[in-house]
Amino acid sequence: MNKALTIYSGTLLDEHIRFTLMELSVLGKTSAEWVIELVDEGVLEPEGETATDWRFDARALKRLQAVERLQRDLGINLPGAALVLDLLEEVEALRQQRSNA
């Protein structure tokens, strides 16, 4: 049998992609209320003034999902998870600088 070779392309979550509040909630399998809470906590920083104008980038989805994992797996509260995310991004930036030196 000739097994058909399916090649999945998927959606590239690049720097140009933007999500509305609803789109981000659906992609992140969560509620709009929770996304709003993350914005209030400063974990997510959308462009736009009001919730209806908010546009989130791919990094927001990544952070949303990481917060969920950190909370579920390590029992960290929201400010703690936010701090972990910020520190992780800083470590990543430093690591990149160092490997370039």
Partner: protein, 312 residues
């Protein structure tokens, strides 16, 4: 199926108290959490630890596990004893992604899973999102690539039993992708329950370390060693870029650390990245008296103080 030594995985004695087990778990969970850890195969370790804790934290399961006996070795071929699970009160778990060893002892078809079958109301839920990482070479990001990845996917059968399946997926990696960016494959994650939709698969792309290029965003950097005379007199040098060799003109009186930019020769995109060349002057050693004489002559004819900014 291989025997799993949960005590060994947790790094605790068989006599460990519930508190000791909890502390060991917290510590290991932090160490191997895939979002935090830089350990190789952190994800696999994290799952193992989670599985071990799932059994050892529950007095019923721990007692049942202990009854299998201590003569087993980690990784040894294992079949559950025929009287397995008799005489215990069982609790339910959701344990997607655990080992076959766990599934046979505590999963859907085991006595531990038997009371877990849902009754009455049909149950609908989203499948879980899955996450994976692929390492690719910079050249692959430049030209695009197709990669086959193998994923261990726990699947829920019609009878509610969870089976680990290896699934191969061919994935197109679009050209110009940046390290850290992700590809989302809708519906390729965990199976949904009832009429719930499948979860998604998120694949993060990470670049392998390149022998001489390094990347910031879409810009590619190359440290280019040149001789003192090439730097002083200027030269045309053949330089590797992602799009192949390019002849680059080194202007006269160039210095170390000086940057040359080849526009739009970095990673493709909108806008494409640039290719930067960072000059690095390498001096020939003064090994012979003749070579020393040349350096002495330079010192006399070209006196200079490169340390003016250091205060003399």
């Amino acid at each position: 199926m291989e025997y799993k030594d949960y005590y060994k995985i947790m790094g605790v004695a068989k006599s460990a108290t519930a508190d000791e087990i909890k502390r060991a778990y917290r510590k290991l969970a932090r160490k191997y959490h895939p979002d935090v850890s830089k350990e190789a195969n952190a994800e696999q370790k994290f799952k193992e630890v989670g599985e071990a804790y799932e059994v050892l934290k529950d007095p019923q399961k721990r007692a049942a596990y202990d009854r299998i006996g201590s003569h087993w070795q980690e990784g040894q071929s294992f079949t559950p004893p025929p009287d397995w699970g008799t005489g215990f009160e069982f609790s339910s778990t959701t344990n997607a992604g655990f080992s076959d060893f766990f599934e046979s002892l505590f999963g859907g078809h085991s006595p531990f899973g038997a009371r877990h079958q849902r009754q009455g109301q049909p149950f609908h839920a989203h499948g879980e999102d899955h996450y994976a990482k692929i390492l690719i070479d910079l050249e692959e990001a430049y030209s695009g690539a197709t990669r086959t990845i193998s994923l261990q996917i726990p699947e829920v059968g019609a009878d509610g039993q969870i089976v680990n399946k290896t699934r191969k997926l061919n994935i197109k990696i679009p050209k110009g992708i940046k390290s850290g960016q992700r590809i989302r494959l809708a519906g390729q994650g965990g199976a949904g329950y009832g009429s719930g939709k499948n979860g998604d698969l998120f694949i993060e792309i990470v670049f392998n370390k390149h022998p001489y290029f390094y990347v910031k965003n879409r810009d590619v950097y190359l440290e280019l060693p040149i001789t003192p005379w090439e730097a002083a007199l200027g030269a045309v040098i053949s330089v590797p870029t992602l799009s192949g060799k390019v002849d680059v003109k080194i202007p006269p009186n160039s210095q170390t650390k000086q940057k040359l930019r080849l526009k739009a020769r970095g990673l493709p995109g909108m806008p494409p990245g640039d290719h930067y060349i960072i000059l690095e002057i390498v001096t020939p050693p003064a090994k012979t008296s003749e070579a020393r004489a040349i350096y002495e002559k330079m010192a006399k004819i070209l006196p200079m103080n490169p340390r003016v900014e250091l205060g003399g």
